[in-house]
Amino acid sequence: MKRRDFIKTTVGASVGCGFIPLQPLFAQQSAGMTMYDKIWEAHEISYLGGITSVLHVDRMMLPDSGPAAIKRLLDAGERIRNPELVWAVADHQVSTSPERYTNRSLNLGSVADDFPEMKEELAAMGIQAFGIDDPEQGIQHVVGPETGLTLPGMLMVAGDSHTCTHGAVGCVSWGGETAQNVLLTGTVIRERARNLRVNYTGTLGPWVRGKDMILHTIGALGADAGNRCAVEYAGPLLRSLSVEGRMTICNLSIEMGAATGMVAPDDTTYEYVASREFAPRGELWDQALAYWRSLPSDDDAAFYRDETIDMTGVEPQVTWGISPEHVIGISERIPAPDDAPFEKRDAWRRALEYTRLTPGDTIADTPIDEVFIGSCAESRISDLRAAAEVVRGRRVAPNVLAWVIAGSQPVKRQAEAEGLDRIFRDAGFDWREPGCSKCYGSNGDLVAQGKRSVSNSNRNYVGRQGIDAITHLVSTPMAAAAAIAGRIVDVRRLMAGEIA
């Protein structure tokens, strides 16, 4: 069934993971199309009724367990469909200890050995597999765009929830898919999302960046604002960001409850993509580029919801609770549950009980135990440069355990070539190996029980980084500043010399 039939049959039809009626959604027959809709329809194999379709997958990205999953299927006599569209990288279960290469048992299960063992077999099928010994290894959502395995216009799927990060290069990407289904069919069954556009306007103040934009957005719109939505980030301020900054924003789309997040490709995107290892070249590049230029949403495309976020005057953000929507500016005071909208009062009370904070206190000067800089949210070279600028010539506070984890081996090499690792080490940071680590508290990389961590990652959920561990989400420079001060501080004041 083709698109026009689809539109007719879905107006006011049944719904998926939310109950909100659909009517404004697909009532756009004469209107232009959004980028999400264009990419959706380019991949639509079969319409299954309601809002569900079967879609062709351009890239399946597998984690640590990827080689083992493929091996199981091959051993069972199964055939991998479109293997040349599959790639794998070890990130979630690898140790980030520098000893992981020699003491392989530090890595969970057999993950460190699966990749070298199967590398040739996989390569023969057209599957790239990056284990800890490979120069491309890193966090999936850093590696994909960095290698050019992620390209504009693609439908890119994986298991991991932060796959939405890749949307920053102008593709549609989501997690939650199972390896087996995609490997065997080359397709996914998916419910179509509504289009939500977030327009960023205004200007960014000093030391305010992509992370603050998305945290502020989630605070303003709510952690469920993206329910059943594909979010397109747009607006003049967004356009001024680097692709890496856009990735940070797209990364937290899932924390907004969205199905995915994306940014329409532009010259910034093409410049970023052009030199990548797996990007098309020559005639194929021209062909791809011509297609990519047709992807941005049409001027008359209808959005289910259109929001504008003015960043002028917005401070560096910091979370105080257990949801990314529990967020305030660094000079603000911790809010009281009684000031919350009625339906959120209980949640705020539970949040403050968990984070052991007192309403009315400033969030600044809250003492901390640990600092985590890493994760698919912000561990790219521009993030590490920003952190190093804060750290240069300073020392980590004596009672703080502070880690920096480059998002990939290429980022790590680049940082070392620029001497950033030296700056971090001299200051007292641990400079560790690429992987997911403390972001989700795995493989022994945990925030100690009940301790308070300032993290540049994406989730501050109860127990996320460790049992009873408290997480304050901030930008990378804010995390670096907290490490220096031993408490939550305003990076702007630290850099102005106003904080010792």
């Binding site: 194999i45 069954i189 469920d224 098309p280 062909q287 029980q449 959920y461 127990g463």
Partner: protein
């Protein structure tokens, strides 16, 4: 009682669930609350009680008395009532398999995190989206009628609450068909094998740069 449809596939089947409904009336119950990973199991947890560990147990293994499934009349619940954005967060399959292992076969919520929702469809937990005011009414009833059961019927797409009301719910036709028939995703797709194959062939011709990696 309607006649039981036989399972047509090898996947999880869901037809109806009669059981106690436990009000967990919070928004944004995230997957790190439902099923933490990477940490040792709570010392108090059994395979049946690993779901909701951080709000179910203190770190030393004692039960938290305010958690609904620790309360008399709700320990054997098979249905969870919740607020908005239930299951927000990660794609971890254990966010669905641990509640299932504890006998939770249905979650009725105002909305769901997208990846929890997908996992529930795959694993056969019925995620029912319902308006908040209706969930509130069922929750009030559940507190007032501890130990009594409600019926969630996927065939008829209704929730029957004795003495209160019958609530119709909507669900994607594909999800209904999959769960009633007990199909795996692969079985669903196998019917489309030819169509998928034809599409992939022409796709490869049209977009050669995608294959040039």
């Amino acid at each position: 009682m309607a006649e039981e449809p036989a399972a047509l596939g090898n996947g999880p089947q869901f037809i109806r669930q009669e059981g106690i409904a436990a009000p967990l009336m919070m928004d944004n119950v995230d997957t790190d609350i439902i099923s933490p990973i990477g940490k040792p199991p709570n010392p108090g947890a059994t395979p049946e009680t690993r779901a909701f560990e951080p709000i179910r147990f203190f770190a030393d293994g004692r039960e938290k008395p305010d958690f609904i499934l620790n309360q008399e009349g709700f320990r054997r619940s098979s249905i969870i009532l919740a607020g908005k954005n239930f299951g927000t967060g990660s794609s971890r399959p254990v966010a669905v398999s641990r509640p299932l292992a504890g006998g939770i076969n249905v979650v009725i919520a105002e909305s769901f995190g997208p990846l929890f929702y997908d996992n529930s469809v795959r694993q056969g937990l019925l995620a029912v989206p319902l308006e908040g005011d209706k969930i509130e009414r069922i929750a009030e009833w559940a507190f007032a009628n501890r130990g009594q059961t409600i019926l969630v019927d996927l065939q008829r797409q209704v929730i029957e609450v004795p003495g209160l009301d019958t609530f119709a719910f909507r669900i994607e036709p594909r999800v209904r068909e999959k769960l009633l028939g007990g199909f795996t995703v692969r079985e669903e797709l196998s019917r489309l094998d030819e169509e998928i194959h034809v599409f992939a062939q022409s796709y490869r011709q049209s977009w050669p740069w995608i294959y040039q990696k």
